[in-house]
Symmetry: C2
Subunit: 243 residues, 2 copies
């Protein structure tokens, strides 16, 4: 069933869809009577029947209201040091598919790429668009926010607020993600912090530990910077029964 | 420490490195006395000291011999229906990083891409090269073989030989990868079968079930065809203590 995020109003049993989603419905040549899902972007799905596709907007009647099935039971935020090239786009697309609730980029000592100013503003808009597309395609109930923090310190401050705050470091050889996830039986919020191509400086790892992050390994293989967050996210979703 | 797969001979405590790896060592400007790891591609790592870099080949002295740490304890083969574009390359690169022992492509009813003849031969050579690069970079002890099967039936026949034969189908809503992996406490071989962009036909799912595959879900979100095998592989590695 075609799926859209709300870009209009609900009044009673009716949803009005405006803008590009209305255009998209017309491009798909959907006709009155056909079914579609409209998600409010806050975790609720409306199963609807199309009423009219005339004019600028499109009208649909709500048949069923239910929590979005695509939302995991755990809120997992991916924090990644700025990677090079278009790897940020891969990380965003796949993280949204795998169930991340937000994606945050930040600078670290070994980052080669440090987008700023107008270039960063442009990138952010593009990144948010990729999140939206991935959320639609994978059936998410929210559009995960993509954001940027100005410093490593601010990333640590935010990431360490989670009930399960994980910081991945390839120099950590003893404490695994599995051990970390098994330390508590219940947690609603998870942070997954991963590095850029060059990894983290030992001094950054120390800082992370001092701010309360659990320094963890993801096994003996060296994962690329765009693979690590996806592996961590899949592990969390598997472990918490969201796969 | 730089890492190479063996492309030469061992005699006693000496390894002779030929061809492009010898050239690579020279390009890296490695000098006699420097340390490097040479892997035999069969799961053994030799920590070596470079002796000489003169002439066509390079000589190194073996200091330590040990099983490759990058090899997981479980042999997990990724079977994927031919995807479109360059997604096969992403699947290979990331599967090798995540610990797959082999990657197999096969045609299925809804495949749009079906490479054949000379184009396929060329692709296979390129794919194997990507596996080798990823194996070096991630510290694997083997170079996972990338191969192609001629039919869906032959893929099922091979995949169903594993002790844990998983077939992922988005139409399956009850039986999860977690339930499947928890049915046995011990298994050495795992098959992960995933579809192309269009997924599988119900008749193919029936065929898979009849051949002994466990039809499983990977959660409520719809994963792209290049994301599904990586999510499954990360889950298996997490579950079996290889992360």
């Amino acid at each position: 069933m075609p799926r859209f995020f709300m870009a209009g109003d609900i009044s009673g049993d009716l949803i009005r869809i405006d803008g590009k989603d209305a255009e998209h419905i017309k491009v798909l040549r959907m006709r009155p009577g056909e079914a579609l899902t409209i998600c409010d972007g806050k975790g609720t799905d409306y199963t609807c029947r199309l009423l009219s596709t005339k004019g600028q907007s499109v009208e649909a009647e709500i048949i069923k209201t239910a929590p979005s099935e695509g939302e995991p039971t755990v809120s997992c935020t991916v924090y990644t040091a700025f990677p090079k090239g278009d790897k940020a786009e891969t990380i965003i697309q796949k993280s949204v598919e795998l169930g991340a609730c937000a994606i945050v980029f930040f600078p670290s000592a070994r980052c080669v790429s440090r987008p700023e100013g107008a270039a960063l503003t442009k990138k952010c808009a593009r990144w948010q668009k990729i999140s939206e597309e991935a959320a639609k395609q994978s059936g998410r109930g929210i559009i995960p926010e993509v954001s940027v923090l100005a410093s490593f310190e601010s990333a640590l401050a935010k990431a360490s607020e989670a009930e399960m705050p994980l910081f991945f470091y390839e120099g950590e050889t003893d404490y695994t993600i599995k051990q970390a996830l098994e330390t508590k039986s219940l947690y609603n919020t998870v942070s997954l912090v991963t590095g850029s191509e060059g990894g983290f400086e030992p001094s950054e790892v120390l800082q992370a530990r001092e701010s309360g992050m659990l320094i963890s390994s993801m096994g003996k293989r060296i994962l690329r910077c765009e693979t690590a967050p996806l592996c961590a996210l899949a592990s969390v979703m598997f472990h918490t029964g969201n796969l």
